[in-house]
């Protein structure tokens, strides 16, 4: 009671006090992030928008390099010099910070009700009871294609798998374009743009993912091996020497107009818009038969949490509530086409390619990458092994069945699903 009265009094003084005093008492909030690319967006758009509505709070966006972020953040948290607001990696990395007491519980934060359970799942305890980061954005997988090339060859956007392979055959027969720009050198392309891209259509998105976590399905089941069988069929449509083709190679092959289809994540949109000289379109992973329910990987990728040791947690919470608001979502999604807001209220976006991607949310069911929640906690690490095996399957050094068996055996060695 007493403290409440005191706060009320203090609030009163700050409201009725002179503006000069309020300025002198400005609170500065620091944001820790790995998104150095977004520095200008934060500085020019997001922070001014917030500061205009919340006088007395100053916000500083202080990013570090992506590869150093986790280590640097850990050291800063231990030393007590970390910023008030912490950009959250999805799943275990943030969960670990929460368990150590570095991140504050945000379950009751005003604004959290704007997010669906799938959106929040990346920053919750396993039982889903407490949330510790505000979801900011997700990335959607699909295929980006060269519209000019499709027009020239008279191709229609494929919706079923048969059509998809027919299109690839035609591009290959014509010979002007490499049918598909993807390499296996960097491994993750094969897993993320390949397996996790087309997979949800086979394992029925969340249904299969949840069953896998519960132990009701195995990676050796038909639905989980089938995406590998399709990946193995991609091999003849990839460019010459795809085994040594890196991720930037693939990006360049596509934006230079040498390849027709690019298995993509929506984060490419910003870069491709500035680099590609031709019209682009996108289509979701093709389904088996026309009219089948489609599933897309709408992967929660970035969130923001509150440093439990922050001296200005009230102000920081105010900021986080704003991050959870539709206002923030609109500015963010438009400034960064391809990073889609997870807010339940629809966001209006200008970019046509981004609109195409986000429109799939309406007709398809969303899921997240199958290996990210819970299943990548042990040794061997399922996500890393999926990278390696996806590349092996496309390279032809492992059969789909052998790859699936290796993954399941690795998982079985440490993961005991809760009964």
């Amino acid at each position: 009671m007493k403290t409440k009265l005191l706060t009320a009094l203090l609030l009163g003084t700050s409201i009725f006090g002179t503006t000069g005093m309020a300025l002198a008492e400005d609170v500065t909030l620091n944001i820790e992030s790995w998104r150095g690319d977004d520095l200008t967006i934060w500085k020019d758009k997001l922070i001014p928008a917030f500061e205009a509505k919340n006088p007395g709070i100053k916000v500083v966006f202080a990013p570090s390099a992506p590869t150093e972020y986790d280590a640097a953040l850990g050291a800063k948290l231990a030393a007590g010099s970390a910023g008030d607001l912490i950009t959250c990696r999805p799943f275990d990395k943030s969960l670990e910070l929460f368990k150590k007491g570095n991140l504050a519980d945000l379950t009751t934060l005003p604004g959290m009700e704007n997010f669906s359970p799938v959106a929040k799942s990346a920053w919750q305890t396993d039982d889903g009871k407490s949330s510790f980061c505000v979801p900011m954005a997700s990335v959607i997988h699909g295929f980006i294609y060269n519209k000019d090339a499709f027009d020239k060859l008279g191709l229609k956007v494929p919706t079923t798998r048969d059509e998809f392979f027919a299109v690839l055959d035609k591009i290959k027969a014509d010979g002007t374009y490499i049918p598909m720009a993807m390499g296996t050198k960097d491994l993750w392309e094969a897993a993320t743009m390949g397996y996790q891209n087309i997979g949800p259509n086979y394992w029925k998105g969340e249904e299969g993912r949840a069953a896998l976590i519960k132990g009701e399905q195995k990676l050796t089941d038909k639905d989980w091996v089938a995406p590998y069988e399709e990946l193995a069929k991609w091999k003849p449509y990839l460019g010459d020497g795809f085994e040594a083709q890196t991720y930037p190679d693939s990006q360049n092959l596509f934006t230079l107009g040498r390849a027709a289809i690019y298995p993509a994540g929506s984060w490419e949109i910003g870069l491709f818009n500035t680099q590609a000289q031709f019209k682009m379109g996108a289509f979701p992973p093709p389904v088996e038969k026309a009219g089948d329910t489609c599933y897309i990987s709408d992967h929660t990728d970035i969130g923001m949490g509150l440093n439990a040791a922050s001296k200005h947690s009230e102000e920081a919470k105010k900021f986080l509530s704003w991050v959870a608001s539709p206002d923030f979502a609109t500015i963010y999604a438009n400034a960064l086409p391809g990073f889609f807001s997870l807010n339940s209220s629809p966001v209006k976006m200008e970019d046509p390619l981004a609109q195409e991607f986000v429109s799939w949310r309406g007709k398809c069911k969303s899921t997240i990458r199958s290996t990210y929640q819970i299943l990548s906690r042990g040794t061997p690490n399922l996500e890393n092994e999926t990278w390696v095996e996806s590349a092996n399957v496309i390279n032809g050094t492992d059969t789909p069945e052998a790859a699936a068996k290796k993954l399941q055996d690795g998982l079985d060695s440490w993961y005991k699903p809760a009964k």
Binding site: G239, G241, D249, V388, T397, G410
Partner: protein
């Protein structure tokens, strides 16, 4: 009384030589702080395990996991095997070529010696990152010069994306590393060859030992100690290697772990990678094993090889 004066005299004659300690101190302190203490820190770390957010002593538990749990041991033996192959390539290619180059450079009839010497040595001082990226580009099947050059001489059919093939990637990278470091054995051997006294060579010539025979019978035995040093440097360098693989193939050392060496294996275990959370204790256990391997190699050299080499020294 006598003894006292004598003692005083010796003390006066041989004052405590403070300067020795003073001059040694910086090196000893820096080396202790940055090499010896961390080394023992690592050894200590490898005996603990993080259970419920606290460090618990587990004895040799981490080592039992490393060798007994197939999830770790398969990767470990794979990394060790690859590392041995990496070393073999260096011993069979880098060092003989280094000796050959040194022999050619020391030949008095060769012109532009200084130029060749510098040109061959330059890659050694380049950063691993530059070497890794440069060779990745050279060998790239899409933009690389290698396929074009091979096409030029009609060998296009022999080109494959080496860095992306399981059976070639490690050998290709070993050869890149050889290219980078061939300057070091060359320089050491070159210096050794120059330091052979002229009298020895002249005596050999008087006895009719010239040309190739002179190299095999006179010069090679005299530079054997240098070759021993080079071998041990190569051994230590190779079993500590990490940078080139990391920059060229990434921390997962693909394809299918075919280029995984102890350094990259240690990196993944210690710092984690992507969703894999780092485990400093297992990492320290791997680092300890690497230390023991290198220690064993150096001991073999010191006690078995070097003692036998001594008789050739002047």
């Amino acid at each position: 009384m006598d003894t006292e004066t004598m003692a005083a005299e010796t003390r006066a004659k041989r004052p405590i030589r403070w300067h020795v300690g003073v001059f040694l101190a910086p090196a000893v302190l820096v080396y202790t702080a940055f090499m010896i203490l961390p080394l023992f820190g690592t050894l200590q770390l490898s005996l603990f395990r993080n259970i419920e957010q606290s460090q618990v002593f587990v004895g040799f538990g981490n080592f039992r996991t490393l060798f007994g749990d197939p999830n770790w041991s398969v990767n470990f033996w794979n990394a060790l095997r690859n590392n041995v192959w990496f070393f073999i390539i260096h011993m069979l290619v880098q060092n003989p070529i280094g000796i050959l180059l040194a022999a050619l450079l020391s030949s008095p009839r060769l012109r532009f010696t200084a130029f060749y010497r510098t040109a061959i040595f330059v890659p050694t001082i380049l950063s691993f990152v530059i070497v890794g990226f440069a060779w990745k580009l050279i060998l790239s099947p899409i933009w690389g010069v290698a396929p074009h050059l091979m096409d030029f001489v009609g060998l296009k059919s022999f080109f494959t994306p080496w860095l992306g093939k399981e059976q070639y990637a490690l050998t290709a990278l070993s050869l890149v590393s050889v290219w980078q470091f061939v300057g070091i054995p060359m320089m050491l051997i070159y210096a050794a060859l120059l330091s052979i006294p002229d009298e020895v060579i002249e005596a050999a010539e008087c006895d009719g030992v010239t040309g190739m025979a002179q190299f095999w019978k006179i010069k090679l035995p005299l530079i054997l100690p240098s070759i021993g040093i080079i071998s041990i440097l190569t051994f230590v360098g190779n079993f500590n290697a990490f940078d080139l693989i990391y920059t060229a193939q990434g921390a997962l050392a693909g394809p299918n772990y075919s280029t995984d060496i102890l350094g990259t294996f240690l990196y993944r275990a210690f710092f984690g990678f992507q969703l894999q959370v780092g485990d400093p204790n297992m990492g320290a256990a791997i680092a300890t094993i690497m230390f023991l391997i290198i220690l064993a190699g150096v001991c073999v050299y010191l006690f078995l090889v070097q003692t036998r080499l001594r008789r050739y020294q002047f």
